[in-house]
Symmetry: C2
Subunit: 215 residues, 2 copies
């Protein structure tokens, strides 16, 4: 699949792209600036020489791809989506965005009362569907393909068929994706990112993660 | 320790009380009605004949105990706390309350924008401290002491010393309690209850739980 990663120069987007490139997906790294996207792609090609990897600006990346991953800080979410809106129509958007507050270890609720994923869905309208995934994974070990990711990915969305695609992407990145219900449930899942930051700080670890038991 | 369980006639409160009684804690089951509390205590004594177990109304239970566990439906939280307010002063309140919406599989945000635990803290003022714990555990296996609980308990509160006590109570009930940061973080943890309900329904299981990896 040809996957655009908006904000693919950041740690999490880059790490996911790296893992997807290594299993054969075509990756287009998007950035605000064409040059930055291209530079990140060059870096990724060094890590995955056999990979099919390009880099460009966010809009061109979106135009080129079948599926779009949103991996920007929450503060840049609305503006980034605005930029790529014309090219998104009908494509699936997988958002990894998790808003954190000034204190990253404290759950932040958005003034809208919605999750960032629901805000994205609202902005995009009905034509583009949004799935939330990868909110709670640490970028830490993504670049080490031999490191087993000791966490599950909670996948929230309103259509089962979209979540199936996202769950396949989890598997392709070496993680178990779990259908976790409606997009609305991203409100809790996004918040868990701050809970995990708190656990990391309190317990002096670097990559606390969530596992779902009982399945 | 002498523990009052307000709403101890319900499945989760009763199950926790049963496990605590079995390891030697004194249990006072509270209910709206004295008779119901007494009847639940009689039931628990049959299960733990050596246990020190009483049952009464919520106010008397609170008066008698050193530590108070709040285990009522969210809808009854404020009224229950109002009833026991005079007897709570200075005691630690461990709340297991997790608000769920009409659709239990969808995360419910309260109109206040706070967690139920923060609302309780607000209502009680500074004298009584609130810790949130046990939001995400299923009552399912609590009554089978030989059944290992395959989940962790996320413990949120603003004072480490209070969370230490709650974490000990997790251990006494056969679970690992994890200091998960400020009481504010209960906003995400309470929401995860609905996410787990969704996972149970979608995956046709009965007791999906959360484990924290990487510790």
């Amino acid at each position: 699949m040809k996957i655009a990663i908006l904000g693919g120069t950041g740690n999490e987007g880059f790490g996911l792209g790296f893992r997807w490139a290594a299993v054969g997906h075509e990756i287009v790294i998007g950035s605000r600036l064409n040059e930055k996207g291209a530079a990140a792609a060059a870096r990724m090609r060094e890590l995955v020489p056999e990979g099919n990897i390009e880099g460009t600006d966010n809009l061109s990346a979106t135009e080129a791809a079948e599926l779009v991953v949103l991996s920007v800080p929450y503060e840049a979410q609305a503006a980034t989506l605005e930029t790529v809106l014309p090219a998104l129509d009908g494509k699936l958007l997988v958002t990894v965005v998790a808003p954190t507050g000034e204190k990253k270890s404290r759950v932040r609720l958005l003034p809208s009362g919605l999750s960032a994923a629901e805000e994205a869905q609202k902005q995009l309208g009905d034509v583009t569907r949004v799935v939330a995934a990868f909110q709670n994974i640490g970028a830490h070990h993504l670049l080490d393909p031999d490191h087993p990711m000791d966490c599950d990915v909670l996948v929230c969305g309103d259509k089962g068929v979209d979540k199936k695609i996202a769950i396949q992407l989890c598997q392709d990145a070496g993680m178990r994706g779990i259908n976790s219900g409606a997009l609305q449930n991203a409100r809790a899942v996004e918040g868990m990112t701050s809970v995990l930051v708190a656990i990391n700080i309190i317990h002096k670890v670097k990559s606390a993660g969530i596992r779902i038991s009982g399945l």
